[in-house]
């Protein structure tokens, strides 16, 4: 009889982690979420607050974040038309992730300079 499946299953963790990564992956999604989170609402303000981002990346990522209901695009029909971006309530659920990533990044930088 063939011996099989010597490995241990880790799908309980891997699957939900991958579901999350599918939403927040990429270089720019979390920086944009953070920038909007601190109060930047206008396209150019968000853009200028994130060093290195291009308007092309901005537009693409903002569209995806809108579809995922994490960022809301609001058009006010005053003169002139004003476009603002805001967190949806659902974006708040990401704060534990952002905090964990931020804390690790700070410690990691210390760790690197220590050596």
């Amino acid at each position: 009889m063939a011996t099989k499946k010597t490995y241990l299953s880790c799908l309980d963790s891997v699957k939900p982690v991958r579901d999350t990564l599918d939403v927040i992956n990429g270089k720019w999604k979390l920086p944009i979420i953070i920038s909007v989170g601190v109060g930047n609402e206008r396209f150019t303000d968000i853009e200028e607050s994130i060093p290195g981002i291009t308007p092309k990346a901005m537009a693409k990522e903002l569209k995806e974040l809108e579809q995922q209901k994490l960022i809301e695009r609001i058009v006010t029909n005053d003169y002139p038309v004003k476009i603002t971006y805001k967190w949806t309530p659902y974006a708040n659920t990401l704060t534990p992730i952002i905090d964990a990533l931020k804390e690790w990044g700070i410690k990691h930088r210390e760790e690197i300079f220590k050596k």
Copy 2:
């Protein structure tokens, strides 16, 4: 006088978050870390425990995780030579991140099915 810098700075958060993302980015790094974390030690065991991964991706990501001192590659000079992969102590510092991503993934899936 020109009015400038209407945006709010978010570099305090964006920079460390990006430092972290530079380490754990990509589709496979966290799944591999999780798999090794639950006790898979052999190349093929890790590979089989992560649906969809190829040996090519495995080899590349394992090398990077080794360089980053998150996974240790251990060669035992018995007959036959045995190669095992293990968490370094530093990998333990990632658990808050993994937990946060896992929890969000579980809730997100519920959220999607609710609608």
